[in-house]
């Protein structure tokens, strides 16, 4: 490897075969370059006579933004793309943590450079802190196919890889539509998971389109609600009714039976009605109040007979 000062404009940036970084621009890195300059020079390789970037895409992007014309580069002489990329990978691995989109880029690049899935899993997954098995590989390999908006959210850590995988089940156009609309509900990660799963399963079971489900849910009406908590509650409630109609009816019937009790008397079924048993809770301050509530329960039981 040799050092050489080159004009940034002389670098052939259209060749992105070794690009891993996502997103390209890093404000933090720019600040750091402003303060202390570039410690590790970017690495170039020559392909078809052109110098192309092997490592240091972000650094060069920052320099361009900072209108710096020239910088010191290292020139790597490897002809073989796979070997060059493996070098770039290890150079990066020692210096930073990859976000999930970058991991996806890495896996796809290794594939493009001819490495078998098996070898990628065996040799490289552990270096990106993934368990070296097929499941981990499959969780990440397709992340790169997602729309930019979603990838940005994943890279920032706002959107989980597991939920991105649920979104991958939907067709291309539905992914962004679903992501964008549900963003307006500010769902937590576990709520997102639940909602994606329910929508997907209703679509599959009832052979419905995403728009058809949105229309069944009357989404626009829910979104008019100002209270965020209420919005989420209505959305999940309506989805549950569509996804689990028999179970939801059972709950509705159960609740209907209880609506006559005054406040402070609650009946709890077992989780998902798995047991026949119910549990009753009575809140009271005085013995007199307890007597009244027990009387009410007795009357109710009598009525039910």
């Amino acid at each position: 490897m040799r050092n050489q000062v080159l004009k940034i404009s002389d670098i052939y940036i259209d060749d992105k075969r070794f690009l891993i970084s996502y997103p390209l621009l890093s404000r933090k890195l720019m600040e750091s370059i402003k303060k202390i300059g570039i410690i590790n020079p970017p690495v170039l390789v020559r392909r078809n006579g052109n110098p192309i970037i092997l490592c240091g895409w972000r650094r060069i992007e920052c320099l361009k933004k900072m209108k710096i014309k020239k910088t010191l580069f290292k020139i790597f002489d490897k002809e073989d793309d796979l070997k060059a990329f493996a070098f770039s990978f290890f150079e990066n691995v020692s210096e930073r943590i990859f976000n999930p989109v970058e991991i996806s880029n890495i896996l796809n690049k290794f594939r493009e450079f001819g490495l078998s899935d098996k070898n990628i899993i065996r040799k490289y997954l552990k270096f990106v802190d993934l368990i070296p098995n097929r499941n981990s590989f499959e969780r990440y390999i397709r992340i790169g196919e997602l729309p930019e908006k979603i990838k940005k959210s994943i890279a920032k850590g706002e959107f989980l890889v597991s939920n991105a995988n649920l979104l991958m089940k939907f067709n291309h156009s539905s992914r962004l539509k679903l992501f964008t609309i549900l963003k307006r509900f500010h769902l937590t990660a576990s709520e997102q998971r639940e909602v994606f799963e329910m929508i997907w399963e209703i679509m599959k079971r009832d052979e419905k389109s995403l728009d058809g489900i949105f229309s069944d849910l009357n989404l626009e009406e829910i979104l008019k609600n100002i209270n965020l908590k209420e919005k989420k509650k209505i959305l999940r409630g309506r989805l549950k009714k569509l996804r689990y109609p028999i179970f939801s009816k059972k709950i509705d019937d159960f609740l209907k039976n209880l609506q006559f009790f005054t406040e402070g008397i609650r009946v709890h079924p077992s989780k998902y009605f798995e047991s026949e048993k119910y549990r009753m809770e009575i809140e009271f301050k005085t013995w007199e109040e307890l007597r009244e509530k027990i009387k009410e329960v007795q009357l109710r039981i009598k009525d039910d007979r």
Partner: protein, 377 residues
Amino acid sequence: MSQTFKFEKIFVDEKVKDHEFTGIVLQKTKGIPVKIIKDAKKVVEDLALEDNSITRGKRFILLTEKKGGFLKPCPGTSEYLCCDYYVLNISENCVIDCTYCILQEYLMNPFITLFANWEDSFNEINGFLSEKKNDLIRLGTGELSDSLAIEDIFPVSEKILEFLKNRKNVIFEFKTKSENIKKFLNLEPINNAVFSFSLNTEKIAKEEELKAPEPLKRIEAASKLAEEGWRVGFHFDPIVHYKNWEIDYHRVIKLLFSKVEAEKIAWISLGTLRFNPKLKPIIEKRFPKSKIIYGELIKGEDGKLRYFRPLRVELYKKIYNFIKENIQKYSRDKKSIRKINIPVYLCMENEDVWEEVFKWTPANSSVLNNYILKLFR
């Protein structure tokens, strides 16, 4: 050689290359390329890293050895009542490839794995049976594989039947979805062997049991065995809830009792669809047309997905009634003097469900085992 299932290659673990049973299998699979391997574990790990490893694994046979541990209590499930069943794992994985098969998630090894030293299991069974000499044990090979589907290339059943002849305290079950029973029709039936068939509606068989013979064929196979004097059993498992399920299950039960001598039925089990949530993405990927995972499944007390209780009870009650009604009809038609009393039991269910369906609950798994075996006592 099996007509239905085609294998691409046979991997033979170096340790068993000279084993007598390896020779038998290779003789029966002539024409299929064979590869001797030094490290079976590595070959298994290699395949597991490939895309579609489960599908690919069904095209390969792995002949290897098992170092003991053939006999195990049925894994069952926590929090639900089990039936004190024992499983004999002499092979692993199944060629039939049903969409709902739990082996897809349960086994780490995707190969159709045959243990060349399977006869070592007889020592284990002997030891176990002498320990439990006062009990009547139910034992079977149909847990981690289908008992008869590849009998043509892995001919174990005759030897098992021979082994069973002088053993009084074991009832052995060959559990299958195949109709591979021809050779047993020429054998002398023995009392402590049961050939049991997993049954489902035509719709479920067609859509979810892709490589299995249609239910009618399974019923006819059972009928032939019963006619020859063998005891047969039936497992309605997994029972699937869908539109018109009642009509379809009623139809298959009617068909069963119209073809099979009810006196020869050792037991009937019922179990609704249930599976570990980890199986869901596997089914979605391998069988995108399957819709059974989109039923009203909740997470049960054991963490498995199953229909919520009122739905399960409805399924069980109706199907149990169809069975009772058909037994009565059978008795009337045959003018049977003796009351036909077939034990019907639930697989992996909780006490509340038992109580609701049958109006009684076995106190524990041993009581349940005794109930299932009442015809054998």
